[in-house]
């Protein structure tokens, strides 16, 4: 990012330290920065954590400090249609969805890019910990942040060449410590908010309660079976459980039980000992290839099956209709339908898709 001459850029701001420092760095580098915050839907009576009033106040304060314009863009309706509804449907289909993924692609990038173009800016920026590099042929690669604890490329695997061409990641290779240090240097008035595991649109609530209210038919009690088909108890509804879950099963056994499988057709929950559901093979559908071209041949890669999991070596075989078959070198527990499987080769994020245990 060399010094620019008053080129406009729209930066997505959340009031947090990452996007605030991103905005400050852009300003330092000579961009004409415009801050934008998206207003997202939340369960009535709660505030969406990504745009809560205090976050709004903080983002506006930062924008004021940096002397950049700051606008709030209403994306509630789109967010509900494109993130919340699919989230409910995905749970109803027995999956464990990650709504942050669809939010990035369908809301964040779409809104920021369209607003940017109206505001006369060719580029957008976010405070994600990730990098890009442009190859001689013009292809843009998405690269990891070197800090494995902070790398967020997993969340960006759905971006296209078009998205990447118009995106700047000012944090690029910085570590969280460096970002905090920069916030101090620029005297940015950012509060340190705890990273929350809650979903942004549910406030403090539990997703189970949320689903019961919105999709009660998806939560019907049914049998809990062993792998041999032995009846061990009753579950409260499949959506209440996640593959690999151990706590809250309420069934004593010779060794701890884990959720192995959710059989939607039979409405049964299959549980068993740790490791007994480890698998090497799974599939991904709706795969996005960041290069824009699906590989023709199987290739070796490292695969991440959750944001916080280690990448595991294996083989990725592209299938037709944007599918892929993954064969890991070593079996893994907790391969969860609805989460994303993301493919890497070293630092390069190649793309990824939604995990399924069945061939697409």
């Amino acid at each position: 990012m060399s010094s620019q001459t008053e080129e406009r850029i729209v930066v997505g701001m959340s009031g947090g330290v990452d996007s605030s420092v991103a905005a400050a760095l852009l300003k330092r580098d000579g961009w004409q920065v415009i801050g934008v915050m998206l207003r997202l839907w939340s369960d009535p009576g709660t505030e969406n954590r990504c745009c809560a009033p205090d976050a709004l106040i903080e983002a506006r304060e930062i924008a004021g400090q940096l002397q950049i314009p700051f606008y709030v863009v209403d994306a509630k309706e789109s967010f509900y249609k494109e993130v919340v509804e699919p989230f409910i449907h995905s749970y109803a289909a027995g999956e464990t969805p990650n709504p942050c993924l669809s939010c990035n692609r369908l809301i964040r990038w779409k809104f920021l890019r369209s607003r940017a173009s109206a505001l006369g800016a060719d580029k957008i920026a976010t405070g994600h910990y990730a990098r890009t590099q442009t190859l001689p042929d013009g292809t843009i690669q998405l690269l990891k942040n070197p800090d494995p604890e902070k790398d967020q490329s997993y969340f960006l695997h759905l971006l296209t060449q078009d998205d990447l061409r118009s995106t700047v990641f000012p944090l690029a290779e910085l570590t969280k410590t460096e970002v905090r240090q920069l916030a101090k240097e620029y005297s940015l008035a950012v509060a340190e908010r705890e990273d929350s595991q809650d979903l942004c649109f549910m406030g403090q609530g539990d997703y189970r309660k949320f689903l019961r209210e919105r999709c009660p038919e998806s939560i019907q009690p049914g049998p809990i079976l062993s792998q041999d088909g032995e009846l061990l108890g009753e579950h409260t509804g499949l959506a209440d459980y996640t593959i690999g879950q151990r706590k809250g099963l309420g069934i004593a056994g010779p060794e701890p039980y884990y959720v192995l499988q959710k059989d939607l057709r039979q409405n049964t929950l299959v549980i068993g000992a740790k490791g007994s559901s480890n698998r090497r093979e799974f599939f991904t559908h709706e795969v996005n290839w960041i290069s824009g071209n699906a590989p023709q041949e199987p290739f070796p890669a490292e695969i991440k099956i959750r944001y916080k999991s280690q990448a595991s070596p294996g083989l990725v075989a592209p299938l037709k209709d944007q599918g892929a078959r993954i064969l890991l070198d070593h079996p893994l527990p907790d391969i969860t339908p609805g989460q994303a499987g993301v493919f890497y080769q070293g630092q390069i994020c190649l793309g990824g898709g939604t995990i399924s245990l069945e061939a697409p």
């Binding site: 406009r8 004409q32 415009i34 207003r39 709004l56 314009p69 606008y71 709030v72 863009v73 209403d74 509630k76 369209s114 607003r115 173009s117 109206a118 505001l119 006369g120």
Partner: protein, 387 residues
């Protein structure tokens, strides 16, 4: 974005230098409480009296008919709450008639009086420009009406109302008539010896006075109860220590309007007419909202554009250096169409794309010309997003 051109004088105005210089001594030297008996109190009370007499004289009113408040909104609240309840106590009448395009300070107050105090609230018929239809008004002025409230000029669409004629009708039926003149008073002198209005709301910051100060004219004999109770300031109609510096500033700003209104109007209406003509010509699928020509505020041009996100247009114009409004300021809320435009029959596709340009006495022709040059391109860019 290096230059900023302010075209949102309907939202607020900067304090005139001449007003500021009147205010400053009273922030420190004449800091006393007008209710105090000592020297400082007397000095402050003198400034208060002078200011009240000055404003009253410009209105053709008696000093005792002018109550200082904190804002135009508070004046509206006092007129409706204090006026309607006092009238009901006196006559038993419990119906409030308001126009459907009132500022929320009136419409939401009326709604609360309906929901919590047992009043009936009816909306008066208006034409497509939001103007009260006089011939339909008279049959509604029955004995059970406690109060009629119709704004003199609408903030969103600029339409003026025939307050003289409405006042005559209300007077004939002996019904108190209140008008919210917060926008109107920035441009027109008013003389209550000729204007048959019983209560008039004013707010200083719309006419180059300070924020946080307003006034309510209450014609002698009009029943009214205090809403804010406490001490006996403002003839027992509004308790609180008088804000002497702001009151002095309001009086000075009001004086300047009376002296300069004619010349300001000439300057503003010429620019306004150019804006209206050129925007309608240069922007496809555009409509003027509110009344034509001199039936609207002299500094006010308002439009709707179909298929466009009005809030985004404001942001885009801001990023080009022009501060405008969509008509009713709601910068973070839901993108709901304005209730005024909806009432006037605009579909959401049009009503969501509203733009209000309000000029100030120091707005130059160059600024307007530059604005008109960039506006069509900005509209086109914002329409692309919706497409």
């Amino acid at each position: 974005m290096n230059t900023h051109t302010y075209l949102d004088y309907g939202a607020t105005t900067p304090i005139d230098e001449r007003v500021l210089s009147v205010m400053l001594p009273h922030l420190q030297a004449t800091f006393g409480n007008p209710s105090s008996l000592h020297y400082w109190g007397q000095q402050a009370e003198r400034v208060l009296d002078q200011s009240r007499r000055s404003m009253a004289a410009h209105l053709g009113a008696e000093p005792e008919e002018l109550i200082f408040t904190s804002s135009g909104s508070e004046s509206d609240n006092l007129a409706l709450r204090g006026g309607a309840v006092a009238r009901r106590n006196a006559k038993g009448s419990n119906r409030i008639l308001i126009s459907p395009i009132e500022h929320p300070a009136v419409s939401n107050t009326a709604r609360q009086l309906q929901e919590q105090s047992g009043f009936e609230v009816d909306l008066l018929p208006v034409d497509k420009t939001g103007q009260i239809q006089l011939e339909k008004l008279e049959p509604l002025l029955k004995a059970d009406v406690a109060l009629v409230s119709v704004m003199a000029a609408n903030n969103e669409i600029g339409t003026l109302n025939p307050i003289q004629e409405i006042g005559v009708l209300c007077q004939a039926h002996q019904i108190p008539f209140h008008t919210d003149a917060v926008q109107y008073a920035a441009h027109f002198a008013m003389d209550v010896t000729k204007l048959p209005v019983d209560m008039i709301s004013l707010g200083a910051h719309k006419f180059y006075g300070p924020k946080g100060i307003g006034a309510l004219y209450v014609r002698r004999g009009t029943p009214i109860l205090p809403v804010q109770t406490g001490g006996s300031q403002e003839f027992g109609k509004r308790a609180a220590t008088e804000n002497v510096p702001l009151i002095a500033g309001m009086a000075k700003a009001f004086q300047l309007v009376q002296e300069e209104a004619t010349q300001r109007r000439e300057h503003l209406s010429a620019l306004r007419d150019d804006i209206i003509q050129q925007v309608l010509a240069a922007v496809p699928d555009s409509k003027l909202t509110g009344a034509q020509g001199n039936a609207r505020l002299p500094n006010h041009a308002s439009f709707v554009f179909s298929g466009l996100d009005g809030n985004l247009l404001i942001q885009v114009l801001d990023s080009e250096g022009y501060a405008c409004s969509s008509g009713s300021a709601c910068k973070t809320g839901n993108p709901k169409p304005s209730s005024v435009l909806t009432h006037l029959g605009y579909s959401p596709d049009w009503a969501l794309g509203s733009l209000r340009i309000t000029l100030g006495k120091d707005t130059t022709r160059e600024e307007v010309d530059q604005f008109l040059r960039i506006l069509p391109g900005c509209v086109a860019r914002v329409r692309e997003v919706a497409a």
